[in-house]
């Protein structure tokens, strides 16, 4: 299954090659033109009936993770996070270093901790990765400083409508773009698999400047705080509530007209849709909107519980709705925007 394969590939920001190679293999048969730019963005051009407008659809191929910063005398690995990660989710997690070496993020055993240590959240600086090495030399024979670290998590279906896995942000978006590549659209369409989103929406800025699109749809994941004791208006999104449309977030204001038209289209055509209820967060739209003479942006997100952690959870129905909504955008954009 495509999403499973994408989720289990490792591509922390700055090290996206394996994810990109996989996508190239899957998509090249459908591309009228395909190329990788200097930063590593993958751009897939699909010729439309009309060149009057250029439409960009973007999803980022990088994921949050970590990087080896030091090898200790005992053969443990100190690390720094890449992208925003809540430090509390790191303890006792399985990881893979340099896509080869398995390890575990460890901390001092609880019965050896002082009370003050137990009461505080462990910061990244007090954590270390155990790769089973007994000495610094042994560890240096296995890995090196600068090696990338990904969470290790097997993607699977669970419950009666959920998927769990790592890097659902934004492999969901990538999977959606892959399936959209199989169709043709009215306007010239650029499917962009961007790099380094998690460390500052960097790839997207470069990508959009090359293309200079008129409109862009950004396929993302967003928080689903649909958990115990959260008031409705702070849930961000609801699990099973459908594809989430952003009005405004910390990075960009979605085009009000196009967003509204897309929402109404979804309601009229039975596509499950909701609005994101908070205005925080950010994504590639932040960089894309400022390219050329400006780009109108729309952000469609699959709600994801436990975002930016070793295992996220999405609803199958929400994921499918996001794909349908993205398809509806590409197929009908000439009716939504003037």
């Amino acid at each position: 299954m495509l999403l499973k394969k994408l989720s289990e590939l490792n591509g922390v920001s700055g090290n996206e090659e394996k994810v990109r190679e996989f996508i190239i293999d899957e998509i090249k048969a459908y591309a009228d033109k395909i190329y990788v730019d200097i930063m590593g963005n993958l751009i897939v051009y699909i010729r439309g009936e009309s060149s009057d407008k250029k439409i960009m659809a973007a999803a980022h191929i990088d994921e949050v993770g970590a990087i080896v910063s030091q090898i200790t005398d005992d053969g443990y690995l100190k690390f720094k996070t890449v992208g925003g990660i809540d430090e509390r989710v790191l303890i006792a997690k399985k990881v893979v270093v340099d896509d080869r070496i398995e390890g575990v993020i460890g901390i001092k055993a609880i019965h050896l901790q002082e009370k003050s240590e137990r009461d505080k959240t462990a910061s990244v600086s007090s954590l270390a990765i155990d790769i089973g090495a007994n000495s610094k030399e042994e560890a240096e024979g296995m890995v090196k400083i600068g090696d990338y670290i990904s969470f290790k998590c097997e993607f699977s279906s669970f419950g009666d409508n959920s998927y769990k896995g790592k890097a659902l942000d934004d492999r969901c978006g990538c999977a959606i773009l892959l399936s959209l590549a199989k169709q043709k659209y009215y306007y010239d369409t650029y499917l962009c698999f961007t790099v380094q989103e998690e460390v500052g929406t960097r790839g997207a800025a470069v990508c959009a400047r090359q293309i200079m699109p008129d409109l862009a749809i950004i396929l993302e994941n967003t928080t689903c705080s649909d958990v115990y004791q959260t008031p409705d208006h702070l849930k961000v999104t609801e699990f099973g509530g459908g594809a989430a449309l952003s009005i405004v977030d910390g990075g960009s204001y979605s085009d009000a007209f196009v967003t509204k038209k897309l929402y109404e289209y979804a309601k009229e055509n039975g596509i499950s849709v909701q609005y994101k209820r908070t205005t925080s967060g950010g994504n590639d739209a932040r960089s894309i909107q400022l390219a050329g003479y400006g780009v109108k942006t729309v952000v469609v997100s699959t709600p994801c519980k436990y975002l930016h952690s070793p295992v996220g959870v999405i609803s199958k129905a929400d994921f499918e709705a996001s794909e349908k909504l993205a398809e509806a955008f590409l197929k009908n954009i000439r009716f939504f925007a003037d």
Binding site: D232, H233, I247, Y253, A256, K260, Q289, G294
Partner: protein, 317 residues
């Protein structure tokens, strides 16, 4: 003042500047050689000329809120936009851009000083989500309501920052004499990250860029003391020769001005200073009392001085 009043009454929250577009376009279309609106709703009015390429900016957006969720009982939840101060919201009347009015309430027993936006909701006097949705939708925007009024000396309005800048720029643009190539940009989204200014700086690529930004009187400058001429802002130091030349022009035409070098806030000039190969920049404005409180005041004499200064800039050497 009629035009200024019309501009102040519009609810054009950041990201929703299209609500004020028509007034501006109607005023300047007969004076512009070219008029364009870009994807972010910057309005660019061009007056061709032979001299330097001068870009002037004044933002059209204001602070306010956006509806994010409607409860089952009809309570309207919202987020503040453009660094709206949450403490000026509770118990205020608000007006949506479609004219519907409501009151901001606190949903638990918190005091105004302890509130966050998540503690507030708007009551429009209609019960039940379905009924409310006939009047207000998710995504609708609103501003704190305040009736414009003026005296011989002063003007009071919900938002003089930056409707005064827009008003003064419209006036100056109409008086462009063709000496320079003038790009008057009525920018969008200043309050949510200077997006409009960043964008137009890049594609216009002017020789000189002057932003019109109002100033908070509490940061050291004074109402009634004339045009605020900034040597810098919190993000960039402005171009010395532009400032000096402007000082000279203002002195020679007897236009009152005051220098502001406090660097407490950011203006649009620093948003476009580094576009392309760099731009010579400066920012001018006027002092506002009760800045960003929804009840702003400005001196009429300062508005006149600002108009004079902008006309000087547009037709300068």
């Amino acid at each position: 003042m009629e035009l200024l009043e019309k501009l102040c009454k519009k609810v054009a929250i950041s990201g929703n500047e299209f609500n004020i577009k028509d007034i501006i376009v109607d005023e300047i279309k007969d004076f512009a050689d070219e008029l364009k609106i870009d994807a972010l709703n910057n309005i660019v009015a061009i007056k061709k000329g032979s001299g330097k390429k001068i870009m002037l900016t004044a933002n059209t957006d204001e602070q306010g809120g956006v509806v994010t969720y409607i409860e089952n009982n009809g309570h309207i939840r919202f987020s503040g936009l453009g660094k709206l101060d949450v403490q000026i919201c509770p118990y205020k009347k608000v007006r949506f851009s479609n004219g519907v009015c409501g009151v901001v309430c606190i949903d638990n027993k918190k005091s105004i000083g302890d509130c966050k936006f998540s503690d507030l909701y708007i009551d429009i006097g209609i019960s039940g989500r379905e009924n409310v949705e006939k009047f207000v939708s998710i995504g609708d925007v609103f501003a704190i309501d305040f009736d414009f009024f003026d005296t011989d000396e002063a003007v009071f309005a919900k938002v003089l920052d930056n409707r005064v800048g827009v008003y003064a720029l419209i006036d100056a643009f109409k008086n462009a004499n063709g000496k320079n190539s003038v790009y008057a940009v009525f920018t969008a989204q200043k309050n949510i990250g200077f997006k409009g200014a960043k964008l137009c700086g890049e594609y216009i690529n002017p020789d000189i860029g002057i932003s019109v930004d109002m100033a908070d009187e509490s940061e050291g400058i004074k109402c009634g003391e004339g045009v605020v001429l900034r040597a810098r802002d919190s993000a960039a130091i402005f171009t010395r020769k532009i400032i000096d030349s402007l000082k000279g022009e203002l002195l020679s035409k007897n236009i009152k001005f005051q220098i502001d070098a406090t660097a407490k806030s950011q203006t649009e000039a620093s948003a476009f200073i580094a576009s392309n190969n760099g731009v010579c920049v400066c920012s001018v404005g006027a002092a506002i009392k009760n800045y960003h409180t929804g009840a702003e005041k400005i001196s009429k004499e300062d508005i006149r001085s600002l108009k004079g200064a902008l006309e000087l800039i547009i037709n300068a050497n």
